[in-house]
Symmetry: C2
Subunit: 425 residues, 2 copies
């Protein structure tokens, strides 16, 4: 082999390496979410990150398809995109088995999604995004359930209603207001984009931009409860009241919430962190009744939300709600000499059949150094296994935190360790 320059150890720009402790934290968080969603009767699905590019050209906002995706041509001339979001894939999968599936579908997924953009805090090029969708129900009971689940997922970590707020709005409401203000489809879309950026603009700047589109600001019609928007306002009030009755007390009407994607058709909502240090939008979702129809199937009503892992972790960190995660083995089997390793492995095998997670030393370090090694690995128990232990069948288990040593016969070890683990948790 020819000599080479050493390779860089950096991952590709904007993506993350997950070392075991990072991944344990990630999986613990999504494990809690999976458990919560299964209580709501939701089932997990998955798909490849590689998607045919055309599915994003149907209804995603143009900016995302043109400038912010990883899109390339494969050697067979097919245009491929690394999915920037999961909803178009979900719609495709639903349309593909439209006749076999039993509706409603209560589905979720935790795909990694890709965006080609400048990496910055909370906006990596790859992130994991929980997607929760209820497909096949047009009534507002579905909207209520989805918002309730968004709240339930945060509560699963111990978040209190004071730590986040849920702002709801309706695309139907905004459309009615735009209609009443005399905006055509194109102008309405422009107005919605403007509204989406409102928080980042000066008040006068926003008013001026609106005036360039319309003489009446549709928001004013909503505020005045104009007759053109009364019906949808009442519908939204019903959703909010039902949520409050079901224990979601931190839900508010906010007519400026739009969500970015073009495909929303009804309810839209966004969840905000209320803390001063991290006061920002966490995630959101809404109703998208038209997306499945893009595949030629009859339209299928659907409502859902997407929640990114980075923002979620930030929220949990800010509020000290990050769950403890560990995948460390329970016991370290030390060996007085390397020649004891084969016997130690047989002993380990015995413990494994009893359900005990075991780490076997394979080095020629001294027993003292092996104890230190166990400690560095946060393995709570240590046992030295040599000829004496093999012959007598009596094992001395040391609990490293207390220094306590207990003499046990092999069959008693499992009970001893699980008792110790219980006492600790």
């Amino acid at each position: 082999m020819t000599e080479r320059e050493p390779l860089s150890t950096d991952p590709y720009k904007g993506v993350r390496d997950f070392y075991p402790s990072d991944w344990a934290a990630h999986e613990r968080v999504f494990g809690i979410i999976r458990e919560r969603l299964s209580l709501w009767g939701y089932e997990e699905y998955a798909a490849s990150p590689l998607e045919r590019s055309e599915i994003y050209e149907a209804k995603t906002s143009e900016e995302i398809v043109n400038e912010q995706t990883y899109t390339f041509e494969d050697r067979g001339g097919r245009r491929v995109t690394l999915r920037p979001e999961m909803t178009p894939t979900l719609a495709r999968m639903v349309a593909a088995k439209r006749r076999e599936l039993v509706f409603p579908l209560r589905w979720f997924s935790v795909p990694n999604c890709f965006r080609y953009e400048r990496p910055q805090r909370g906006r990596l090029r790859e992130h994991y995004q929980l997607n929760v969708d209820l497909v096949g129900v047009s009534s507002d009971e579905a909207d209520i359930e989805i918002v309730n689940i968004a709240s339930s997922v945060l509560k699963a970590f111990g978040a209190s209603p004071e730590q986040f707020s849920i702002k709801v709005n309706s695309r139907k409401l905004l459309n009615a207001a735009c209609d009443a203000a005399g905006l055509d489809e194109d102008a309405s879309r422009k107005y919605l984009r403007l509204l989406d950026k409102r928080d980042k603009m000066e008040k006068t700047e926003f008013s001026e931009a609106v005036r360039a589109i319309s003489s009446t600001d549709p928001l004013d019609l909503i505020e005045k409860k104009d007759s053109s928007v009364k019906e949808t306002l009442n519908e939204l009030a019903h959703v909010i009241n039902a949520l409050k009755e079901r224990g979601v007390t931190n839900v508010f009407f906010d007519p400026t919430i739009t969500r970015g994607f073009d495909y929303y058709t009804g309810l839209v909502f966004e969840v905000f962190d209320t803390s001063k240090e991290n006061n920002r939008s966490l995630f959101g979702g809404g109703r998208y009744d038209g997306l499945v129809a893009a595949y030629g199937a009859e339209s299928v009503p659907a409502v859902g939300f997407g929640m990114g892992d980075v923002t979620l972790m930030d929220f949990l960190g800010t509020h000290k709600l990050l769950p403890h995660a560990s995948t460390s083995p329970l016991i370290y089997i030390g060996t007085p000499s390397p020649s004891d390793i084969p016997d130690a492995q047989l002993f380990a095998r015995d413990l494994r059949t009893r359900g005990i997670r075991v780490f076997v030393n394979l080095s020629d370090r001294t027993l003292g150094d092996q104890v230190k090694d166990a400690d560095r690995r946060s393995i709570p128990h240590f046992v030295a296994y040599g000829a004496e232990e093999r012959d007598s069948g009596i094992i001395k288990v040391k609990t490293l935190s207390s220094g306590l040593v207990t003499e046990l016969s092999v069959p008693d070890i499992a009970a001893h360790l699980s008792k110790a683990a219980e006492a600790k948790s």
Copy 2:
């Protein structure tokens, strides 16, 4: 919006959609593997499928980098590859934290890997591949452990030693034989490639191809136990004996096993299905002591294996070892009328806090049709929740398989359902 042609519902060529039952089967299989590996003290890591292309140009076989990867240039001019395998990423991650990590590392991962090739049975463009690696131990105790784990993972599904066989060999052995036969580095590499394809060639065809490289077939030197290969033969015999002593009885020496990658430096092994219908290579691995050094770090000894999900599923299917997987809710809450849905959701909330997976009807179907719906979804229990149940607090739980109806107060439901689930399993 302008009218469009309906989009195709197919996924991108050669990749799979995982509907909930598919994903449940996948996750059940890898759940069993995760559990088994944690008993061996192994911890899970992960990384992005996007990698800098250069890391595959170091030591992977040339064919793979040049013709079989998804490689493209991002808008910043960086060459990006969708990982075709995990080992180079693992080596990169180890090199990056060389000084912080506590060796040995017992690590595993289940990445999706991508190959640009004609889709065929068991060879998709994207598959999931279990990777198990023991990093930082140069002694053959590490080789023994890794082969033992490969066996242990299959046994975790109930596979018997008669259903698969493990063939081991050593690159050191092959290199010593090539040296003794007078082959230089280039000729040795050619010979190994030839050996890798031997099973697919006629005997005479193979002999002729060997003669074009060397007057002596290195395999003959191994068969004759030539003095040049005695030492490595003895080492291999020790590994095989140790495995047999530890209960891995189906392990055999096979000097024709080479494995595809250039980076192997010692032990190589391959696991075969022994059934007549599915008699083929399942997976394999080996020792690769030089890979971390490509990143400029000192070399770190490492040994591991990779196992693809498609071949694994085929193996489990052939031998009727596929585990039962279900993520269905435990109880279906029907509603006599849609106006009962809000109360039904409150009731569902109560059950969820008791740890019960609940499916709430949101449709206006009749109760009879709701029972049929529960049945189609394989939800084992049904309860109708209306004004009567709300007022009395007495619920009639119907077990759909037996038709049995039990009257219960709400606090007793959890115990009743978990008893029923136990009786069934």
